[in-house]
């Protein structure tokens, strides 16, 4: 029998009913009294000098209440580098960059007025390619990157397009390569992807008489956005309030302020009237955010027996016109680019690069899915060079507890070996070929993908639990519900800790004026961080409950025991139960806390104390993160050799979850992650010509439809390596759910065809020749 009553049992999300029936009120559904509608004039060219802007006709247009141009709002944004203004001022750096704003009584009037703005832009050559951008003769996206304010952990370089150059150095790579039996060298490419959340970026802003700014926005991380806006506007944080309606998907894309600053710029001129700025789908493609493209150069050294001796890489991230949080993406990918393997010698150089394209930012995994694809292609190539089974090679090298990680830290709670074993077993790996031809002439292949990822540290969060006299509870926190299921896992923890029925526990709308402090909703951190904070809040609530009950029962508080499952027991002087007791799930009936001292439990969790700042050159440290995630996918694909169509037949996804809190939630994450990963691998890409986006719409940017999702998905949750500091031992699953799908599918295709996959998405025309060759080889035999 489980030691828990609620934890580990499937629980239905609390927001499902509202979202399925359409009664949920998203930001787009909100209309405030006196609200105006904003529209944005955007750059039609990817790079150019603004010669003039004439807004005179727009100002006079019907219904127009405010018009704003860049010079009026010269505020700078940027988490890593403050390189971005609210509106373009002298120069435009990407197609779709906002240039001017209009607020009008109706959206139609706002659009009409935007069309009346005359803007004269002298086009400049666009920096379209990340490798071209690195050349000394390349045009510059920003003239002097160092001159912008930037965080001291990154290194922008003046006179180049380099936002940051990240370095990691461990061991002696040159020596290892000199001693290697086998060296495998390859280059890989990942296209730019879009988050394509069902809800576009949008915001409503209002500035009241005292100058207080209120923003309604589907902000993934409202306190982060508040901080960004505060720094940009030079307004204290207490003068900015961010209210978060239900969010229609984030995937990392809602981390950055996109519509918020535009709505505020207008609201500063509308005398208290709120302004809504809602991106159209086309605007979201051009001026939302993207996952950066990346080009990897990889070199791996191995010994004859399969031991990986060294991994070396230089890689360039196509981070677009403004840096946002991309340097962190580059960092996170490079830290794990040698894979979840014990490698003594590692050398990484990651360049975060500016181009005249859309803004690269976080996307589910922070670069790990791309890195996993590259390191797993390398593992397959090493296996091939050594004539070893790809599974065996990986098993031989996987990290184990106590080993030294790529950052030099001593690893613990490492579940990768079990994950890999389970993933391979789920597909029936042993004794089965990795490539074969079916009776009807299709090419099948099997592949493996592993990943490791760390959660951003240091970090902090907090929660409160309010008990109502009727025995219900309200839990407040500022981690947002993006679909990852925080809104059910946290109530589950409250239910477990206090013995209150799950259905009596509700959550509240995140609002920086009301809900407690939280760093971000990113990095698969919610269950771990907020879960720990919630356990502490429940402890605090229990202490208060016991105190009140002690008073009510006229018993010293030491003789009140709060037992598991929420039974409050009176003890006698010997510590034995007197028989007097009350149940937390009967508070409504027993009136135990009614009209008593109100109970409000508070708990917080933060990880500054466990974090050691890495060396800026080597990135070696004693401890980098609160939590490492591990996982493995095994995939089988079928390729039609004549049309080069790839179908993913099955994916087995094994995840080092530590402890499963909500198996239903995990399944939803894993299914969504696998399908998203398949879309990333086979379908999705931004296609640019000279900086112009060719396919910025939902027909031409191809996310999988339900018709494309008929893949057999088997989830295996591994609980053999619980996290000693996690709530009940739990780690995270949000990003992990998709981090190894791209690599496993690419591995399966590479095995099927016998050639490495050097570009994702894998397009039919890229593999057609390989399909032919594979069939010819089969016929020769």
């Amino acid at each position: 029998m489980s030691e828990y009553t609620v934890i580990g049992k499937p629980a239905l999300r609390k927001d499902s009913h509202d979202k399925v029936t359409g009664s949920a009120q998203f930001c787009a559904d909100i209309t405030l009294t006196g609200m105006l509608h904003g529209a944005v004039l955007r750059s039609k060219v990817p790079h150019g000098i603004i010669k003039s802007i004439d807004v005179s006709a727009a100002k006079e247009a019907e219904g127009v209440r405010a018009v704003v141009t860049g010079e009026e709002v010269p505020y700078r944004l940027g988490r890593s580098i403050m390189d971005q203004t609210f509106l373009a001022i002298d120069k435009v750096r990407h197609e779709g960059e906002p240039i001017a704003l209009v607020a009008a009584d109706t959206l139609e009037q706002a659009y009409a007025a935007v069309r009346m703005i005359k803007v004269d832009i002298e086009p400049l050559p666009a920096v379209n390619d990340v490798l071209e951008a690195m050349k000394p003769e390349s045009a510059l996206v920003h003239d002097r990157l160092e001159d912008y304010w930037h965080v001291d952990t990154i290194r922008p370089v003046n006179g180049t397009n380099i936002y940051d150059h990240f370095t990691l150095r461990k061991g002696d790579v040159d020596k290892a390569f000199a001693e290697a039996d086998v060296i495998v060298e390859n280059e890989y490419d990942c296209a730019i992807l879009h988050h394509a959340a069902i809800e576009n970026h949008l915001a409503i802003a209002k500035v009241d008489g005292s100058g207080k700014i209120t923003v309604w926005s589907p902000a993934q991380s409202p306190y982060y956005i508040r901080g960004e806006l505060s720094r940009a506007l030079k307004v204290p944080e207490n003068k900015i309030r961010v209210i978060v309606p239900p969010i229609g998907g984030g995937f990392g894309g809602k981390l950055e302020a996109r519509a918020e600053q535009l709505a505020i710029a207008l609201a500063m001129k509308t005398h208290g009237r709120p302004v809504k700025v809602a991106f159209s789908r086309e605007e979201d493609f051009l001026a939302g955010t993207v996952r950066a493209g990346v080009h990897f150069k990889m070199r791996t050294a191995a010994r004859k027996d399969g031991k990986i001796l060294a991994v070396e890489s230089t890689n360039w991230w196509d981070s677009g016109a403004y840096s946002t949080i991309s340097p962190t993406v580059t960092l996170k990918a490079n830290v794990i680019l040698a894979g979840p393997y014990e490698v003594d010698n590692v050398k990484m150089d990651g360049y975060c690069v500016a181009t005249n394209k859309q803004l690269g930012t976080a996307q589910r995994g922070f670069g790990v899915a791309e890195a996993s694809y590259a390191h797993e292609q390398q593992m397959d190539a090493v296996a091939k060079a050594l004539g070893m089974d790809p599974y065996e090679l990986r098993m031989k090298n996987v990290m184990v507890d106590g080993c030294k990680g790529h950052t030099g830290e001593k690893m613990f709670a490492v579940g990768i070996k079990e994950c890999l074993k389970e993933a391979a077993e789920g597909l029936g790996w042993e004794g089965h070929p990795t490539s074969w031809i079916t009776e009807d002439g299709k090419i099948r292949g099997r592949g493996l993908g592993t990943f490791m990822k760390f959660t951003g540290t240091p970090s902090y969060t907090s929660a409160t639990i309010k008990l109502n006299f009727d025995g219900s509870a309200v839990v407040s926190y500022s981690t947002t519900e993006l679909g990852q299921g925080v809104g059910i896992v946290i109530p589950q923890i409250v239910a477990e800790e206090l013995g209150i029925p799950l259905e009596l526990i509700s959550t509240v709308q995140v609002d920086t004026d009301h809900t407690p402090l939280d760093k971000t909703t990113t990095s698969s951190r919610a269950t771990y961080h907020l879960g720990n904070a919630t356990i502490k809040a429940a402890e605090d609530a229990r202490r208060q409950i016991c105190q009140w009950v002690a008073f009510k029962w006229k018993t010293p508080v030491e003789r009140i025991e709060f037992k598991k499952g929420g039974i409050i027991v009176q003890l006698d002087e010997q510590g034995k139960p007197t028989g007097k007791q009350a149940r937390m799930d009967e508070l409504a009936k027993n009136g135990l806390i009614k009209n008593g001292e109100p109970i409000l439990g508070y708990g917080s969790y933060e990880t500054t104390n466990i974090w050691h700042k890495p060396d800026p050159e080597t990135y070696q440290t004693e401890r980098l993160t609160a939590m490492w995630f591990f996982g493995a996918n095994a995939a089988e694909v079928e390729i039609d050799p004549d049309t080069a169509k790839i179908r993913v037949v099955k994916v087995v996804a094994a995840h080092d979850i530590g402890k499963t809190l909500n198996p239903l939630g995990c399944l939803q994450q894993v299914e969504g992650g696998v399908i998203m990963g398949i879309g990333n691998t086979l379908l999705e890409e931004f296609i640019h010509r000279d900086g112009y986006l060719m396919n910025g719409n939902m027909v031409d940017f191809k996310i999988p439809t339900s018709m494309d999702s008929d893949v057999e998905i088997e989830m295996r949750l591994i609980e053999s390596s619980p996290h000693p500091e996690g709530p009940y031992g739990a780690k995270g699953i949000g990003e992990p759910a998709m981090c190894a799908t791209q690599s496993a599918v690419a591995s399966a295709v590479a095995h099927a065809l016998g050639v490495p996959v050097v570009h994702v998405p894998i397009k039919g025309e890229h593999i057609l020749a390989a399909c032919r060759k594979r069939l010819e080889e089969a016929n020769d035999r």
Binding site: L107, E108, Y111, A112, E282, D642, T643, L683, I687, R689, M694, N695, M698, V699, D700, K702, P704, T705, S706, M707, D708, G764, E765, L768
Partner: protein, 295 residues
């Protein structure tokens, strides 16, 4: 935003013809699934629209006395694919239009709109072309009949003159009787996608089902407009059915098509696909007709 000057709604063909005369240059709006996208993109800013969507006399499918299948242009894709006449005599047309967009688009989009839009990727066009459809075009001056083969003048351009309206699509009995068709749409996704290449074929076999008596084949996205593959067709005429014939047909396709490279796919890949899906479509059609590839 939907920026247009005026919308005129016609209740009858006569009214529509009058409106086209009164508003030269106005666009004909049927289901709107193509025009609304362009409107939203601002490409038709300030245009005038004449909606014919309310003209019920332009809806429906029937078998005329002489065996001609008449499809009125406002018939939705869903209505086409579920209509008994289509299902019985030219099911391939239903199969083709069933691959357009998603269910909502198929409920609103019309077959007439699909071909009048004039794009090469129109999923109904290759089948209608392969069946030698005849178009009934009406104006205030009367009616003219035009082979669909002559309708597409260039990308997005069709032979509809000012004041004219497509009022009927006819497939003569001689064209459809004893035929079996197959349509293959090659696209990146299984729904909600535009064809990278489309191929519609129909075959009529000899009585003993050993020979192809007649082959009809047409492509979408293999040229700037939907095209018939006459070389491939004549290669098959009267020939005994075997693998070698399929290969010859497939090779012959190259003479009939002129695909281009775009960011969606390269010319070479489209040429390869055209040969491959032509072969598969002929094979499937032959099998539907009761023939067999290997005797």
């Amino acid at each position: 935003m939907y920026d247009f000057k005026e919308l005129h709604e016609a209740g009858s063909v006569a009214e529509a013809l009058r409106l086209t005369k009164e508003h030269p240059g106005a666009l004909i709006l049927a289901g709107g699934s193509d025009i609304l996208i362009k409107l939203r993109e601002g490409k038709l800013a300030g245009c005038e629209l004449i909606s014919i969507f309310g003209i019920d006399e332009l809806r429906g499918i029937c078998l005329e006395e002489d065996g001609t299948i008449l499809i009125r242009p406002l018939t939705s894709f869903t209505a086409v694919s579920t209509h008994p006449v289509i299902r019985q005599h030219i099911p391939v047309l239903g199969e083709a239009v069933d691959q357009i967009g998603g269910p909502q688009i198929r409920n609103i989009g019309t077959i007439g709109g699909n071909i009048c839009n004039g794009v090469t990727s129109a999923d109904s066009a290759s089948t209608l072309k392969a069946y030698d459809a005849m178009l009934e075009i009406t104006s205030a001056e009367g009616t003219r009949v035009l082979p669909f083969a002559e309708f597409n003048l260039g990308p997005g351009k069709v032979d509809l003159r000012a004041g004219e309206l497509l009022t009927g699509i006819r497939i003569p009995k001689e064209s459809w009787e004893r035929t079996y068709g197959h349509y293959i749409k090659y696209a990146m996704r299984r729904a909600m996608d535009i064809a990278t290449l489309g191929c519609s074929v129909n075959v009529r076999l000899s009585a003993d089902k050993k020979k192809i008596e007649r082959l009809r084949m047409a492509f979408g996205v293999a040229a700037p407009i939907p095209v018939r593959a006459h070389t491939a067709e004549s290669t098959a005429e009267g020939q005994p059915i075997d693998e070698a014939l399929l290969t010859r047909i497939s090779e012959a396709v190259i003479a009939d098509i002129t695909p281009r490279s775009s960011w969606r796919a390269s010319k070479e890949f489209r040429l390869h696909l055209a040969k491959e899906i032509a072969l598969r479509a002929v094979k499937a059609a032959v099998e539907k007709a009761g023939g067999s590839i290997n005797g």
